[in-house]
């Protein structure tokens, strides 16, 4: 039954119970009213409301590092000093493109949310972000399956103003990658397959010593 109907019924039956009865321990606010005549007494009796959380409910993801002992193709020594510092305190597994991409790599700390990296190779650029905090919107319908397998999991590849974009969840972490192509003939720029191949080849940096584990 809608709250307003309940309130009307309650009022009609003379069943109004003054608010304030049976309060739990609490600091109850003393109020005044400015601008208009103050209502004499709060008169609403009925079910309480629950609203929509603006911007979504904040939920922590729980990143996991695979127990593979690291990828021999990448070490922290291959990063510049700033990027290495970010990697050493990363709170989610750091995926990086390998080979010639490492020379143009820059890791950026995003605090509690995770990290972002920019990697360049010739006329292509990848922006890859890892997130360990999701926003929950209960009113959103469940997402259907994606359109690609990315790194062995269900993922989605789409395009935005000429920028190909991918998203997937791996090791408890949400990732997104955006690919900007100056040369459409570059292998990674040759359709979704080339992009997915680049993502499948990403390496995981060694797990920082500061990261604990377990539930």
């Amino acid at each position: 039954m809608r709250p307003i109907i309940l309130a009307l019924v309650s009022t009609a039956l003379g069943a109004c119970v003054p608010l304030g009865c049976g309060r739990a321990e609490a600091d109850v606010l003393a109020t005044d009213h400015r601008g208009v005549d103050a209502p004499s007494e709060p008169g609403y009796v009925g079910p309480l409301q629950r609203g929509i959380v603006l911007g979504g409910e904040r939920i922590e993801r729980v990143p996991r590092w695979p127990d593979t002992g690291g990828d021999p193709r990448v070490t922290l020594d291959m990063l510049d000093a700033d990027s290495r510092r970010v990697a050493e305190r990363a709170t989610a597994p750091v995926l990086v493109p390998t080979g010639p991409w490492l020379a143009g790599l820059r890791l950026i700390d995003l605090g509690e949310h995770g990290h972002s990296l920019r990697a360049r190779h010739q006329r292509s650029k990848v922006i890859l972000q890892a997130s360990r905090i999701a926003r929950h919107h209960p009113e959103l319908p469940p997402r259907g399956p994606g359109n690609q397998r990315i790194r062995g999991v269900d993922g989605l590849v789409t395009e935005n103003e000429g920028i190909r974009s991918a998203s997937w969840i791996e090791n408890g972490t949400a990732y997104t990658a955006d690919l900007e192509c100056g040369d459409a003939a570059a292998p990674e720029c040759s359709g979704d397959a080339g992009f997915v191949a680049l993502l499948d080849d990403l390496a995981i940096l060694p797990r920082p010593a500061s990261v604990g584990g377990g539930r």
Binding site: V28, A134, L140
Partner: protein
């Protein structure tokens, strides 16, 4: 893409633009209402970025379609600088017709952001600005590139495309309102029309990263930028106790209309640490009728369980304007409160492994999650992990009972009210062969309402009854009430196995074939799009779910679900 010519100075356009402040009608068309013929929009009133700054430095500005605007590839003939493109009302163009997959668009494909024209049709004049404090994670670094990304402290990535004269550097910390770039038409080696393409990209539980609609966030931030509206809304916070957050809100410009009230806990709207809740102040109160001249303006909000943690909290309450103006903080706001944790119910704790599971169950970590402390959680016996998703099933033997399939068990749903508290839609129950339903062990009935707990770590647990099969004499099943068929029950549970029932034919199924691919996936009848805006031929395998499979798909869900659960053990 059609080559567009940057305009000569058309500064007079700003003067031609109608005055919003004086306008009786909203300056924007509703969200999801796209330009006619440009596709199906998403009717979404949600402000995904509350507190954001409008991304163009100065108004007026004109969000709307480029492709379907005047001079656009599919728009009426004319110049991109036609005054009609620089006038109200705004038009949403998130989900505008494209061939690119977009999970949140009704058609499953569409435009990922919002195109915004500045006040005049001039190249390199109008600054875009930082929408939220954050860090720059991408800038154009060559003539091929035209994208700037700023990751806000709120976790949202704000994208600015097609600009020039970029004023930020990679890795730079930036504050709301700082210059980003100037509105232009850069699109790699070609040109687009003069506009800023603005995206919001965020990590959403159940989705992972996804582009979300920016339109209403733009609307709300524009009201503040332009100081729009007539008389400001008003209201009062009358009580902030552990029982209720009580008050009223009204817009004098529309005194009969029930408006929204936004309650911000532990910070103002622009603070990324706050939690904001929006409710409609539409509760009928006799005591409001005389002073306000209208009665349905009350709000009475439940104290969220997640804030009942024995810590001090602040509360700011804002009343929304009826349409054109910014929200106003109401009288007696802010307030503060401190509430003791709710009593912990008996039961076992079931790990909720990921945000995706929370999303699938439609659980609320704001309303239904308590923080009793690590010690209190540690002594709660551990039960099975929560199933990846709840499934509602009804046997095909004419039974009206709807069961919740929770892993390897079926559970009675005591009433429609209980189903409502769990966000379960009984009408959406799948029709299963009776033998399949009967083959599932009967677990305890669903509890009256969800109750979750979280300690200092990230793990979240649902407090629930244990699954105790017949003859289970384990300490867990012997020590706790609520084994199979008995249930701890709630005020709506009588402890029997009677289930809630659904009317109608039901019989909808799950996701259908998730492996079947199709090329393009753009649908019949979609016209070709201009270069750079996607085409009917591109865009991957298009493996979207059909969403309306037959009953056979439901049968397949059982082994799939059970397999998933076994793998986790």
């Amino acid at each position: 893409m059609r080559q567009v010519q940057p305009s000569t100075l058309v500064a007079a356009l700003a003067l031609l633009a109608p005055s919003v402040a004086a306008a009786a009608e909203p300056f924007y068309s509703p969200p999801g209402e796209l330009v006619a013929g440009s596709g199906e929009g998403r009717k979404d009133e949600k402000v995904y970025s509350p507190g954001m700054r409008f991304p163009i430095e100065n108004g007026p500005a004109y969000p709307g379609s480029q492709v379907y605007g005047i001079g656009g590839y599919y728009g009426p003939k004319g110049s991109q600088c036609d005054p009609g493109n620089f006038s109200y009302p705004w038009h949403d163009n998130y989900c505008e017709k494209r061939s690119w997959d977009m999970p949140l668009c009704p058609a499953g494909i569409g435009h990922q952001g919002q195109d915004i024209r500045a006040s005049t049709c001039e190249k390199g004049v109008h600054w875009t600005v930082v929408a939220h404090d954050g860090t720059v994670t991408n800038i154009p670094e060559s003539p091929d590139e035209y994208a700037t990304y700023i990751n806000g402290k709120d976790g949202i990535r704000y994208d600015y495309l097609h600009g020039e004269q970029t004023a930020v550097k990679l890795g730079q910390a930036v504050a709301m309102g700082a210059h980003v770039d100037k509105v232009s038409n850069h699109f790699g080696g070609t040109a687009t029309s003069l506009h800023s393409h603005f995206n919001l990209k965020m990590d959403v539980a159940g989705y992972g990263f996804v582009y979300v609609p920016p339109y209403m966030s733009l609307v709300e931030s524009y009201k503040i930028l332009m100081g729009l509206g007539g008389k400001p809304p008003q209201g009062a916070l009358e009580e902030a106790s552990c029982e209720v957050l009580l008050g009223w809100a009204q817009d004098p410009d529309e005194p009969e209309m029930s408006i929204k009230a936004a309650l911000y806990f532990d910070g103002l709207p622009s603070d990324p640490e706050n939690v904001g809740v929006e409710v409609t102040a539409d509760l009928y109160r006799d005591d409001l009728c005389e002073p306000l001249g209208s009665c349905a303006h009350g709000f009475a909000v439940e104290m969220p369980m997640s804030l009942r943690d024995d810590l001090d909290h602040t509360l700011h309450v804002f009343a929304a304007d009826d349409g054109n103006g910014p929200a106003e903080e109401i009288d007696a706001s802010p307030a503060s409160f401190r509430c003791p944790p709710p009593p912990l119910p008996e039961g076992v704790r079931r790990l909720i492994p990921t945000p995706e599971v929370i999303a699938a169950w439609k659980l609320s970590t704001f309303w239904d999650l308590a923080k009793p402390g690590d010690a209190a959680i540690a002594v709660i016996p551990v039960g099975e992990d929560l199933a990846m998703q709840p499934i509602l099933a009804r046997a095909d033997d004419g039974s009206t009972e709807v069961w919740l399939v929770d892993g390897e068990h079926r559970r009675a749903i005591p009433s429609a009210e209980v189903a409502g508290r769990w966000g379960l839609d009984l009408e959406a129950a799948e029709l299963w062969p009776a033998a399949t339903v009967d083959a599932l062990a009967e677990g305890p009935p669903l509890r009256d309402a969800p109750f979750m707990v979280k300690g200092s770590g990230p793990w979240i647990y649902l407090i629930d009854d244990p699954f105790c099969d017949d003859g289970d004499q384990s300490a867990l099943c012997g020590a706790l009430p609520g084994g199979t068929g008995t249930g701890t029950g709630g005020q709506d549970s009588d402890g029997s196995s009677a289930s809630a029932s659904a009317s109608g034919s039901g019989g909808t199924s799950g996701d259908g074939d998730t492996s079947a691919g199709s090329s393009g996936g753009t649908g019949a009848g979609m016209p070709a799009l201009p270069p750079g805006f996607g085409s009917v031929d591109e865009g991957g395998c298009g493996c979207r779910s059909a969403g309306d499979g037959d009953g056979g798909a439901a049968l397949l869900l059982v082994p799939v679900l059970l397999t998933l659960r076994r793998r986790r053990r």
